[in-house]
Amino acid sequence: MDLTVLTDYSDYYLAGFLTTIEASLLGLIGSFVLGIVIAVFRIAPFKPLNALGTAYVEFIRNIPLLITVFIFYAGLPSIGIDMSGFVAGTLGLCVYTSAFIAEAIRAGIQAVPAGQMEAARSSGLTYIQAMRFIILPQAIRIVIPPLGNQFLNLVKNSSILAIVAGGDLMYQGDLVYSSTFDTVSTYAFVAAFYLLLTIPLSQLVNYLERRMAKAY
């Protein structure tokens, strides 16, 4: 291994590292918001919305992330909507991850006993109020560990940006490689930067899982 690869190209690594963090955070926010909307669709007391939510979740979960990314990267430009690789990649990540987050949220909400909703409704709260003040605060606790897991996957999946020239860690690694031609050193440092993010995250998820398991 050649340490000078890291020192000579530290700008590339740093830029990629920051872009990976940026894409992961934007992806998390976007997929969380979209995931909540889809989860609400799936549990709302209105059949057509349920069907729409279910179709979205089942379809997206069973196709590769690369397709959702290519829809934004190649599909939209073919009808005249152009965007950068970073934007296309991040939007693809949002759409893909939102299906998994919606499932996690739905499972969490449905884990709250039905009596809670009935009691809240019969005390005069509206459906929205019951959700906001009674069901969601309890569901959040159940949902946090699987959400952490999804975030961990999101960080790893953000490497897909490299395929659409999104400027992330993996992409910068490709750039470094094309001038060093030293695969082993170049990608060992890329791997190290990923582990710097993912190992603490997976420790945190493990910790949350154990804590939430204890609380009940």
Binding site: E58, N62, I67, F70, G75, T183, Y194, S202
Partner: protein, 216 residues
């Protein structure tokens, strides 16, 4: 968008690509399963040093993006003098990555079997290997079926990442077609999505059914 530009030849070309996707995914899941069981058993046996080394190995592999591993298999090993075809690099990378995930499924399956089972087996005179072979593994394997089916679904989706090492799988075929026929990009991507969906959706239903059946 000009849908009439989508020719029957394109469809069969894509089907051929999907055949390669299925072949690589199927071979990889079998090899990853064997390797995963092997890793889990070695970790479960608590062999000094080796079990610890494997634990670190699994944690590192699990926390890296698959894209990085695939890239490394193809370009990294070539640099070390081990030339790989895209197919063998894709299979090696997928097996390496998935075996780490499967070993965790197997390990949690093994630890879910009550200690009394292996103690009873050992005190009836079975050797350690016999105990694992006839008592613990058959029970653990049953519990591992649903998560393994889910793992196959992600593996099938993940095969699409091998597009970066120019494996002639479905996403690669799709790219070739829409790069020549810009107008049908959406149609091509949607057709590819449907192919993945046609295999993955029934599998995900199966996984859910098995899970329910085991829960009873």
């Amino acid at each position: 968008m000009d849908f009439s530009a989508f020719k029957w030849d394109y469809f069969t070309f894509m089907l051929h690509g999907f055949g390669i996707t299925l072949f690589v995914a199927f071979l990889s899941i079998i090899l990853a399963y064997v390797l995963g069981i092997f890793i889990a058993l070695l970790r479960y046996a608590r062999i000094p040093v080796l079990s610890k080394v494997l634990a670190v190995w699994v944690d590192i592999v699990r926390n890296l993006p698959l894209l990085l591993i695939l890239f490394f298999m193809y370009f990294g090993l070539a640099e070390m003098g081990l030339d790989m075809t895209p197919t063998s690099a894709a299979i090696t990378g997928l097996v390496l990555f998935e075996s780490a995930l499967i070993s965790e499924i197997v390990r949690s399956g093994l630890t879910s079997i009550p200690k009394g089972q292996s103690e009873a087996a050992r005190s009836s005179g079975l050797t350690y290997v016999q105990t694992m072979r006839y008592i613990v593994l058959p029970q653990a394997l049953r519990r591992m079926i649903p998560p393994t089916v889910s793992q196959f679904i992600s593996l099938l989706k993940d095969t699409s990442l091998a597009v970066i090492i120019v494996l002639p799988e479905l996403m690669h075929s799709s790219q070739i077609i829409y790069n020549q026929n810009y107008g049908i990009t959406f149609l091509v991507l949607f057709t590819a999505a449907l192919m993945y969906f046609a295999v993955n959706y029934p599998l995900s239903m199966l996984a859910r059914r098995l899970e329910k059946k085991l829960a009873n």
